[in-house]
Amino acid sequence: MVAASELRSALTVLVIAAILFIVAPAVIETYTLTVLIIYGMLALSLGLIWGFGGILCFGQAAFFGLGAYTYAISAINIGESTVPFVLGIAVPAAFAFILGAMLFYGRLSDVYLGVITLVVTLIFFKFMNSTAGPEYVIGNARLGGFNGIPGFQTLNVPGDPGSYIYDVDYYWFCVVAILIVYALVRWLLASPFGRIAVAIRENETRVELMGYDVRIRKTVLFSIGGGIAGLSGTLFANWAEIVTPGMFSLAQSAEIIIWCIVGGLGTLVGPVIGAMALAYLKFLLGQQSLVDNMMLLGLILTLSVLFLPRGIVPSLGTLLARAMPKRRRKRQHHRRPRRDAEESRGEVLDG
């Protein structure tokens, strides 16, 4: 019963999202839409490990930037894009695994975890900024310091380096990518691994006393989050056709957290919507010079924390449930006792 309703809600989200992605190019340029999707995926990666795993990582940008740099460097060295693409996911995932293992096996508390992930991001940022000299090369790729790395092979049809996937085709590529990632993450969360991950978020001690090794489970989840962030970094590199140290910046890290908070933690759709909406707003605001961009972003965060503390998506869910309470109550009446009818309100849009 649980599995069937899970499947139905996941499919509903996928179908609605697909329709929206088909319609959206009529309103917004595909070039802009593409980067919105990429940011959405980046937010999804943090939404997974923070919202479901309870791991607040202040340095999700580290994996984002690492994915992009891995892709760029290996694309220059290899030429054809298939292997670099895979590396752009695998390297950040492996790095997250090692970092996570140190954090979780070291039993660091949440605060230290936040600080360390933040510092790791800053180290990447500082280091990449200082690699302008010609001695900083990996194979044929110069790291380029604050100028970043331009001019690498962008995504091509596997096996055919001459036929690039770009422009509208690249938009569709990203659409399919985020839908697949979303479906996989939903599947992961419905699996025992995901259910145990949520239980760890709720009460780590209890899960340990049940006999589960919490450390390895958190490490694996953290690594999956790192891999997804790496994928979005790889996609970003292909979209921008240049990678710069700015991807590792503090502002980038903070933005991901803001996307998640505004969109709604504890859901997957929330962070994606938060990221796309805020990034688009930032894009629109970037075309004027009257108000400072960061100030408005801060204002939005403050207002949303004050008035929608659970985020946009969960609040919308509550509203929707209130708008049609009769149907829900009726359906529940013979299935469950009254007591938890209120409970399931507000969870309509969850996921």
Binding site: P192, V198, T205, D340
Partner: protein, 237 residues
């Protein structure tokens, strides 16, 4: 008869304070043992050394002839030991059924987890609230949920830290009944304050005082021991 749980010279120091001092303890198969003692006697610290939540600073813990000193809690639990902590340790954001399923899944695997979950829910009369988030339940109900988590793992050794704390009289009686039932298949160690409750379940009682075992006798002898009364009233022995 061989003991299934044994400590030799178990010691736990926090800085200069010795909370558990050189304790030798033995538990037989299918035994029901109560640990009592005044506040700060070291019962809960002793308990946490058994479960792996604390690493003892000295001495040894053996479970079924295997030395488990310093093991992590999950490894101790995997030996088939059900543990209930002092403050109900449950997943507040998740429904009762999910709480119990997670425990059952670890022990029984996917196929049998559902059945084990259902029978634990039945046994503890949790059916009406099976789909309610645990955070919305009363204290007594949460205690029952945690017990459900423990019994769904079908342990052969159960460690309960203050199972009757904060419960109503009726609930305490029900808890005593459940513990009696569980004792048919498992050895049980109960850490408890409530003398009334102890009297209703106990056979053999170990009294802790200042980190050491003061007396270890059957329940009636312990209750009539003037030393036990004295430590409970705060007098020096």
């Amino acid at each position: 008869m061989a003991s299934i749980l044994e400590t030799r010279g178990l010691t736990m120091q926090f800085g200069g304070v010795t909370a558990v001092d050189n304790v030798d303890f033995k538990l037989q198969r299918n035994e029901l043992r109560c640990l009592i003692g005044p506040n700060g006697a070291g019962k809960s610290t002793f308990f946490k050394c058994l479960t792996g939540q604390l690493k003892p600073t000295g001495g040894h813990v053996f479970i079924e002839n295997e030395e488990t000193t310093g093991w992590d809690p999950h490894a101790v639990s995997r030996l088939g030991i059900g543990i209930k902590t002092q403050v109900p340790s449950v997943m507040d954001g998740l429904p009762v059924r999910e709480n119990i399923w997670l425990a059952a899944y670890r022990t029984h695997g996917r196929e049998r987890a559902r059945h084990a979950t259902d029978s634990a829910i039945e046994r503890l009369a949790l059916r009406d609230i099976a789909n309610t988030a645990v955070g919305r339940l009363s204290h007594g109900e949460r205690q029952r949920v945690e017990l459900g988590i423990v019994i769904s793992m079908e342990p052969w050794l159960i460690l309960l830290d203050e199972p009757a704390a904060g419960m109503t009289g009726e609930e305490v009686a029900r808890m005593a009944e459940i513990i009696g039932e569980l004792n048919a298949d498992a050895a049980i160690v109960v850490v408890e304050h409530d003398m009334q409750f102890i009297r209703s379940i106990a056979k053999k009682v170990t009294v802790f005082n200042q980190g050491r075992i003061l007396v270890e006798e059957d329940v009636d002898t312990v209750m009539n021991d003037p030393r036990v009364r004295d430590v409970y009233l705060g007098k020096k022995v």
